[in-house]
């Protein structure tokens, strides 16, 4: 039995992600945000279900499509929004932007824009915990496309032979940029790749937050108990294009998109909570309203924050002085 508090927290996080992402897309389309933006709308259940199985002191690494993962691990949306706005008050002082948000205090070891690069790094985090003798676990998100990188294969093998407390969570949204999964690999279930490394692998419905939560909890328990790494594949879908501005229609049919939208992970979970009598509609509405405000306030905070000074660019290259 999952306690009610946990169930409600998962709902709250899913809605927080959805609202944050919707707002970010809206702002980006208005030209308020520099750079580019990868939206994770549609994938909320993976981020939240997986992170809900972690403790606050566990570690996590995310990807270019990372806002959802980072919120799920507990990041503050005001600091995130300020980073998207390239403000001095943002998580990375405006140096990283949408693709590179980190909060080391929350165990968020950052997000990388290099596909697959997070997997070897998560092994290092797990190794450090193993060496220090703590029972912390480390989780890495990555996409279906990333499962074809050398980094993926090298990292799974190393985690396996060192029995590292790692959970590899694949967000299989069926596309790597414009390339459908069936074009970029011959397998359907990415979890079968675990076999090749002698570790457990499972494929689950990535649009069902509780399914993801249960699968991850099992893997976390194994990792904490010195049982080694697990590969979890979560089948899901990104509703929008690869990046905001890519309509995502050149390589996907309208029907396919609509069919996945009809399996909205947030709506499904809401219905589930109500059907099981966990709470009443008004409780969920209250959460929705609160988050609506929270995101508005985050935008206000970001807008009212100062820009970095141009010279700030010279700081943080090293610990210590800039080396000209």
């Amino acid at each position: 039995m999952i306690p009610k508090e946990k169930l409600m927290e998962m709902y709250e996080k899913m809605v927080r992600i959805r609202r944050f992402e919707e707002k970010a897309v809206e702002l980006f389309l208005k030209g308020a945000l520099p750079g580019f933006l990868h939206s994770s709308i549609g994938q909320e259940a993976v981020s939240v279900g997986a992170c809900a199985a972690l403790r606050e002191d566990d570690y996590m690494i995310s990807t270019h499509r990372g806002h959802g993962d980072i919120i799920a691990k507990g990041a503050r949306v005001d600091l995130m929004m300020a980073e998207l706005f390239a403000k001095k008050t943002g998580y990375c002082k405006g140096k990283g932007g949408s693709m590179h948000i980190a909060d080391l205090d929350l165990g968020i070891l950052g997000a990388t824009g290099i596909v697959g690069a997070g997997l070897p790094i998560i092994n290092g985090a797990a190794l450090a915990c193993q060496l220090k003798g703590t029972d912390q676990v480390s989780l890495c998100f990555f996409g279906d496309g990333a499962s074809n990188t050398g980094s993926f294969h090298e990292a799974l093998n190393m985690a396996s032979i060192w029995n590292l407390p790692v959970i590899f969570v694949c967000q299989n949204n069926l596309y790597a940029e414009s390339t459908p999964q069936w074009v970029h690999q011959k397998i359907q279930d990415i979890s079968v790749r675990a076999q090749g490394y002698g570790i457990p692998g499972v494929s689950v419905d990535g649009n069902n937050v509780l399914t993801v939560y249960r699968a991850t909890s099992e893997a976390v328990e194994r990792a904490r108990g010195k049982g080694g790494p697990t590969l979890i594949e979560c089948k899901t879908y990104r509703w929008l294009g690869h990046y905001v501005g890519d309509p995502g229609t050149a390589y996907r049919t309208k029907e396919e998109v609509e069919q996945w939208k009809s399996r909205d992970p947030v709506k499904q979970y809401r219905a589930n909570l109500l059907a099981n009598g966990v709470c009443e509609e008004k409780d969920l509405d209250a959460i929705d309203r609160r988050l609506e405000r929270e995101i508005e306030e985050a935008v206000e905070f970001a807008r009212n924050s100062p820009d970095p000074d141009p010279e700030d660019a010279l700081q943080d290259v090293y610990i210590g002085e800039y080396i000209p």
Binding site: F36, G97, A313
Partner: protein
């Protein structure tokens, strides 16, 4: 003469060479139906079919390695690496294999391939999507490095690069694709190793590469108001470098300013400065000057990004300092 974009000119060059030589084929991420992230290869799948316009998984080492293997058997592959930042994943193939096979095998192998990629900042794409790594690759004996700045040059040089029997790293710039310029309808080639004087002048030589050529030209225009006539030299290819054109220009002007977008330390400007001090010391009337990016990763925030990347003002200031 008709004017077309850098992107269109490049595509024309690729198309002409594919028509001319059946051994030419393209491979890279999302280059087929999607036409590449920067749409350079759009339409080529339809024209040449999936055997010659090949989508790949996200596997940079395997892409570049496959290009080498095919080249060894007499093909002329053109591999696209979406961002030069991702070439780092293929660096073993580039630096240890491609650049060295001919030499190690005692002159027996022919690595006739082109790696097309793009670099550069200016779009707030942050530290992992905006680097200028041309100097790294220029340091590796065995590779040629081409860096075209105009539609005319990009077409003539891609054609020559494909026909060249040596491996070529062909570096485009993400902010040049939409630039328009005159490109003749009739076929032409540009020799690899021939610089171009983009503007004649007698007072100062500005050697600039890639997008910085455009900025140098704008700066040169502005400087005419001070009565200064700057000569702008675009090496177009870094390896081999057309030393003669650069040295002749210095002989004429007696002053040298070097401009590039890569960070200054060990940038390609150091090589040009060394060339000038070794071979044109007595022609110089003033110390050599370099205008280049600060020695930092590329920051996300537009204000910081434009602070670290040289602009027209920095070039004008550099020229004024040189002229005393």
């Amino acid at each position: 003469m008709r004017e077309i974009t850098y992107r269109e000119a490049l595509r024309e060059g690729l198309r002409e060479e594919m028509k001319r030589d059946e051994t030419v084929f393209l491979l890279g991420e999302d280059i087929a139906e999607f036409g590449g992230t920067y749409k350079v290869t759009q339409g080529l799948l339809e024209e040449f079919g999936p055997a010659r316009v090949r989508n790949t998984p996200i596997s940079e080492a395997a892409i570049v390695g496959a290009a080498l293997g095919a080249a060894l058997l007499g093909m002329r592959p053109v591999a696209e690496i979406m961002y030069i930042d991702f070439s780092t994943i293929a660096i073993d193939q580039i630096a240890n294999q491609i650049a060295k096979v001919r030499y190690m095998f005692g002159g027996k192998a022919r690595a006739s391939l082109v790696i097309r990629t793009q670099g550069g900042a200016g779009r707030s794409s942050a530290a992992q999507h905006a680097q200028s790594l041309e100097a790294w690759y220029s340091h590796i004996p065995g590779l040629k490095v081409v860096m075209p700045s105009t539609p005319y040059d990009v077409k003539g040089l891609i054609k020559s690069s494909i026909r060249d029997d040596n491996p070529i790293l062909f570096i485009e710039h993400k902010l040049l694709y939409n630039e328009k310029g005159p490109v003749p309808e009739e076929e032409y080639l540009i020799p690899i190793g021939k610089a171009d004087i983009k503007r004649e002048g007698k007072d100062v030589t500005i050697v600039a590469t890639s997008r910085m050529v455009l900025r140098a030209l704008k700066a040169a225009q502005a400087l005419t108001e001070d009565g200064v006539e700057a000569e702008v030299v675009d090496p177009r290819t870094l390896v081999p470098l057309d030393e003669e054109t650069i040295l002749q220009s210095i002989k004429k002007t007696g002053r040298l300013l070097i401009v590039h977008e890569a960070s200054k330390r060990c940038g390609f400007g150091a090589e040009i400065a060394a060339l000038a001090s070794e071979k044109a010391f007595y022609d110089l009337d003033a110390p050599i000057k370099r205008v280049a990016a600060a020695n930092t990763p590329v920051p996300f925030a537009p204000k910081m990004e434009s602070f670290v990347i040289p602009d027209e003002r920095a070039i004008i200031k550099g020229v004024r300092e040189l002229l005393g």
